[in-house]
């Protein structure tokens, strides 16, 4: 009995080990080859010779005249911050009202918002261009921020709704007796209690904004001269895709910030994700 259990455990460890190896190999190839010349990459893509390894190619990618990766980080980070702030600012009050109003209108509104979760973003990008053009926001960061916020609203509002509904109503009543208005109650009493769900929403929305490629590609377009990390990588790597001494360093620079953040915060990111999705 214990022997079969032991061997089953060994099989499990070996299997998971092999699967982990398969998952990590592409990352290993990415990191190792960012320090090598094209000739060395093609000679042996799996090995690294520390005597010839150099930061030259990373520096070249960093100083790429077509695409400043530092500016790309800056713009993408600004997008992440603006979309998160805006989404929380508009969704928290709406979710609060919907969670505290048990009438038919509120139910219908909630359904109206949730339906948006099933709309694939790519399908609205073409018509959105015409809406933004009519508003004079096409090709601008403001337009992109507003569109990205709109796509995060269904999920954000839905999880906020679920969370606020679990908070006792007596909190609101106590605040109302003390003369607090609805906004005051929301920002000073409800919102601080929502910290766990705020963290979840912040993490998930940040990931999707940081990694989005289709929206900035279509809304900003190459004409605007504004590049996020993804559209910049596309502009920098797209046409040189067999010059690996350019491909690997550029890709590595594009993923390093998010990988570092992930490794540092992996527990929060993964549990936040589970909490966010399972509530549905």
């Amino acid at each position: 009995m214990s022997r079969t259990r032991g061997s089953a455990a060994t099989v499990r460890v070996v299997f998971v080990g092999l699967a982990s190896l398969a998952m990590l190999t592409p990352l290993y190839i990415l990191v190792v080859n960012a320090f090598k010349s094209q000739r060395e990459i093609l000679a042996n893509p799996f090995a690294i010779d520390f005597s010839t390894a150099t930061f030259r190619y990373l520096a070249d990618a960093w100083n790429n005249p077509d695409f400043s990766i530092l500016k790309g980080y800056g713009i993408t980070l600004a997008l992440v911050v603006c979309v998160n702030v805006l989404a929380i600012m508009v969704c928290a009050p709406a979710a609060y009202v919907l969670a505290r109003t048990p009438d038919l209108v509120a139910r219908l509104l909630l359904f109206f918002f949730i339906a948006g979760m099933f709309i694939p973003t790519q399908t609205v990008l073409v018509p959105v261009i015409f809406v933004l053009r009519a508003l004079g926001l096409m090709g601008t960061l403001t337009g992109l921020i507003l569109f990205m916020t709109a796509t995060t609203i269904p999920f954000t509002l839905f999880v906020f709704f679920g969370y606020i509904r679990m908070l006792p109503r007596s909190l609101d009543e106590a605040a109302a007796i003390d003369g607090a208005g609805k906004y005051y109650t929301l920002w000073r009493i409800i919102l601080p209690l929502m910290r766990p769900i705020l963290a979840t929403v912040f993490i998930l929305n940040s990931l999707s904004v940081w990694n989005d490629f289709a929206s900035p590609q279509m809304i900003l377009g190459p004409g605007s001269g504004i590049y996020t990390v993804t559209t910049g990588v596309y502009a920098a790597v797209g046409q040189y895709s067999t010059d690996y001494s350019k491909v690997f360093p550029t890709l590595l620079l594009a993923v390093i910030p998010i990988l570092v953040i992930f490794v540092v915060m992996q527990r929060h990111i993964m549990s936040g994700l589970a909490a966010g999705a399972v509530k549905g």
Binding site: V97, V124, F213, V229, T230, Y234, A274, V278, G280
Partner: protein, 303 residues
């Protein structure tokens, strides 16, 4: 009388305050998501090249006819369906299988979970470029094969090979999310039921079928819906991994909308394709939700 008036004013004011709190969310969401969906439906019945000085011209169902008669576009529907169906099965099998193996919390398993999940935090565009450098005709693997004297493998240069390679890459980058969902679901499986099944002499498989699987019903639904919807909109990976080729074998519907119909200024056809994708996503979501309700009823009967 006065008291009634006061309370009515209070109710009015609070209705106004409430409307004011909901309005910003409604406004942004409606203007940039609902109205565009409406426009997609409207443009899908018109001939329009997108120039501001032109007015969309109503042409009925012509765009839909064009869409279903064009082999190019029906091909993208088939590719999208294969990616969504095969991808969803593969993602969920891999995720559930590994979740069962990694469900105990210890250092080794935590490491395993992080390793399985990390591709999800990378952008799909970067993932595509990375795998293109690995699988491409002059990529890492084929260079090694040539050096070893064997012929290279057409991962991305053969139509079938490219499609399967793309699905593999998508599964690699996606299944971590579903793994996390299944891990969370497994924690909610009642331990006493599992022990009871063991005591009754059920093996691993028997326990899984009779206890674990029914208790996971709602998790399975969520995991399947989320994976199907993200697979239906596959776009970034196509751009960076294959560019839709060779011979259109990896062109998805989303890619066809954004990279073919739109640049050709066929706004009507692009919108008809978008409508098709929206309808497909809606049907999928509704189907799975209906199935979920049924499965949950089953689960309640054992709980």
């Amino acid at each position: 009388m006065t008291r009634k008036n006061v309370s009515r004013i209070g109710a009015w004011r609070s209705a106004g305050v409430r409307a004011g709190m909901v309005a910003p969310a409604v406004l942004i969401y409606a203007a940039l998501l609902v109205v565009p969906v409406g426009y997609a439906f409207y443009y899908s019945f018109t001939d329009y090249n997108g120039f501001p000085n032109r007015v969309p011209e109503f042409i009925g169902l012509d765009n839909y006819r064009t869409m279903f008669e064009s082999h190019d576009i029906t091909g993208t529907m088939v590719v999208t369906a294969i990616v969504a169906a095969v991808g969803a099965v593969a993602v969920n099998l891999a995720a559930l299988g590994l979740a069962l193996l990694l469900q105990k919390t210890n250092r080794f398993n935590t490491f395993g979970r992080v390793v399985m999940f990390y591709p999800h935090v990378l952008s799909a565009l970067v993932v595509g470029f990375l795998w293109q450098a690995i699988l491409g005709p002059q990529g890492v693997i084929n260079t090694l094969l040539e050096k070893a004297g064997t012929s290279s493998l057409p991962f991305l240069s053969d139509p079938d090979g490219a499609l399967w390679s793309m699905i593999l890459v998508i599964v690699w980058s996606l299944f971590g999310v579903q793994l996390v969902l299944y891990l969370a679901g497994l924690q909610a499986v009642p331990q006493d039921l599992i022990e009871a099944a063991r005591i009754d002499g059920a093996g691993r498989w028997g326990t899984f079928r009779a206890v674990t699987w029914p208790s996971l019903a709602s998790t399975v639904t969520v995991a399947v819906i989320t994976s199907c919807i993200s697979l239906l909109k596959t776009y970034d990976v196509v751009v960076s991994l294959t560019g839709g080729g060779p011979a259109g074998s990896t062109k998805t519907l989303a890619y066809s909308i954004l990279a073919v119909s739109f640049p050709q200024r066929k706004i009507g056809v692009a919108s008809a394709q978008a409508v098709l994708l929206i309808v497909a996503a809606a049907i999928m979501a509704i189907t799975v939700l209906v199935l979920r309700r049924r499965a949950e009823n089953d689960a309640e009967s054992i709980g």
